[in-house]
């Protein structure tokens, strides 16, 4: 089934981009079923991950981040990332990877590569 879209693939490859850590710094927000998830990438290499549940509960963690060039493209690596209370991912510290995409001038940190879903950078 993938052969049918080979020309579109070629189009995307031609448009693939690389990003700098400086331009990615900022606040990214993802609305999820139970609340709002936020990641702030600092220009100093630190990130703050927070989660505000609809119930009002707030969780927060911070550590360091860096940018790496991987097969899928420029990827933000969040070191010692762990899901906060209320988030529905498997709860262990990890290197959590978020592919960077840009669409119509807005940056996204992708959580689902198939659906192009993820954190949206706030202006």
């Amino acid at each position: 089934m993938k052969f049918a879209s080979i020309f579109m693939v070629a189009l995307f490859v031609g448009c693939s981009s690389h990003y700098s850590a400086g331009e990615l710094a900022g606040k990214y927000v993802l609305s999820v079923k139970g609340g709002t998830d936020t990641i702030e990438l600092g220009a100093n290499g630190k990130y703050v991950h927070s989660y505000v549940a609809k119930s009002g509960d707030v969780g927060r963690q911070e550590d360091t981040w860096n940018l790496e060039e991987l097969q899928a493209g420029s990827t933000v690596v969040l070191n010692n990332f762990h899901p906060l209370s209320g988030e529905s991912t498997r709860a262990r510290d990890s290197y959590n990877l978020l592919l960077v995409k840009r669409s119509f001038g807005t940056y996204y940190l992708i959580t689902n590569i198939d659906l192009n879903e993820g954190y949206k950078k706030q202006q």
Binding site: K2, S5, F12, V13, Q71, Y95, D114, L115, N116
Partner: protein, 146 residues
């Protein structure tokens, strides 16, 4: 799998165990090998029990991946995917490959996610998880632990 998605008969989520042909196909994929290499690089020098998981390692299905998938029908169907790697205390790695089959993925991101039909409709979203375990014996770690 493909026709189940086209006709809307595919379930919302399917989990393929480690002994299924589908999971074995995906464990041999380039994306999983790349993710293991990334995991080993990040955990170089750490012993089992100290290693840190890697989550959401993305593999993008482009012309090179198409060539690498060859005639493997599972990899052709899956296209792009994400890999999670969880280390165990005995040195083995639990691996999960996540994929969502959707109009967005079929058209390589050109089709808006907001317009994807829900599961149960023709070409509606359906996701798969492929599970596998990598034995300690075939990993190329450098921790030197006993």
């Amino acid at each position: 799998m493909f026709w189940g998605w086209v006709l809307g008969t595919a379930p919302p989520n399917t989990v393929y165990g480690p002994l299924t042909n589908q999971s074995m196909d995906m464990m041999q994929s380039q994306g999983v090998q790349d993710a293991i290499e990334f995991f080993n690089k990040k955990n170089a020098g750490k012993c089992p029990g100290e290693e840190v998981p890697v989550t959401n390692y993305d593999y993008s299905f482009g012309p090179m991946a198409l060539w690498q998938a060859g005639t493997n029908s599972t990899q052709q169907f899956v296209g792009s995917y994400s890999v999670n790697i969880y280390p165990n205390a005995n040195g083995t790695l639990d691996i999960t490959v996540y994929n969502t089959t959707s109009m967005t993925s079929f058209f390589y991101g050109l089709y808006p996610n907001a317009l994807n039909p829900p599961n149960g409709y023709p070409m509606g979203n359906t996701s798969q998880e492929y599970l596998g375990t990598v034995p300690d014996s075939i990993r190329s770690t450098s921790c030197g632990c006993q």
